[in-house]
């Protein structure tokens, strides 16, 4: 399996798509997450992402390995930002190429669901009246 896994200040979803596209595989499924301009009706000014980078990379590699195991995925690109992001900016891009498109859809959804559960990245949401670490409290 070919994989591109990276955490950086800026990511380009087109790079993720281009990495997994090939003449051998006909279908690519992509998930692109970006900053929403509001949360529960409250205007969001920006997000600040922080990560435990060496462990985050290892956890992303585990996800890619599981995608290969379970869905025979051929190529995966998983990009995540760190640092400050404004509404509309891309924060995560996952692109998957697999021999069957059903497998590509399942594997891509598994990747984003699992990334949110296991990859050590945190985001702080900034509102006009303060900031909160997302999902920190029940």
């Amino acid at each position: 399996m070919e994989q591109l896994i990276r955490i950086s200040d800026n990511i380009d979803a087109a790079e993720a798509v281009a990495f997994v596209q090939s003449e051998e595989s006909g279908g690519v499924v992509t998930f692109i997450g970006s900053v929403r301009n509001q949360t529960k009706q409250k205007k969001v000014l920006k997000l600040v992402f922080e990560c435990y980078e060496p462990m985050a990379i290892l956890e992303m590699e585990k996800i890619a390995a599981q995608m290969y195991e379970k869905w025979q995925v051929k190529r995966v690109a998983m990009l995540h930002v760190t640092g400050e992001k404004l509404p509309g900016e891309v924060v995560v891009a996952i692109a998957v190429a697999a021999p069957h498109r059903g497998a590509a859809f399942e594997a891509c959804q598994y990747a984003i669901d699992t990334l949110k559960e296991t990859v050590p990245i945190w985001k702080q949401e900034f509102f006009e009246d303060g900031a909160v670490w997302v999902a920190a409290h029940p």
Binding site: G33, F49, E50, C51, Y52, P54, M55, A56, L58, H80, V91, V92, I112, L115, K116, E117, T118, V119, P120, I121, W122, K123, Q124, W133, V134, A135, A136, H137, P138
Partner: protein, 77 residues
């Protein structure tokens, strides 16, 4: 023992790392100690400990050479 702090844990401790003098043989002991010293940790949805860049169970033994990190609830993606 020196532990890495991230996200809301940096705010709670008001530091990026924490040096602990107490004897804490296991991950479970470290979690218990954190909740005693920093009651705000009890209000978190969950707190996990990573040892050498992997999630560790409460029974995992800690040594001074380990890279230990406190992992508050995740919110990537």
């Amino acid at each position: 023992m020196r532990v890495l702090l991230f996200g809301i844990m940096k705010d709670i401790v008001a530091a990026k790392t924490l040096t602990i003098e107490a004897e804490l043989p296991t991950v479970g002991d470290l979690k218990h100690w954190l909740k005693q010293e920093y009651p705000a940790v009890q209000d978190l949805k969950a707190v996990m400990i990573a040892v050498n860049k992997a999630y560790a169970s409460d029974e995992t033994m800690l040594s001074s050479e380990d890279e230990i990190a406190i992992i508050p609830p995740l919110s990537g993606g």
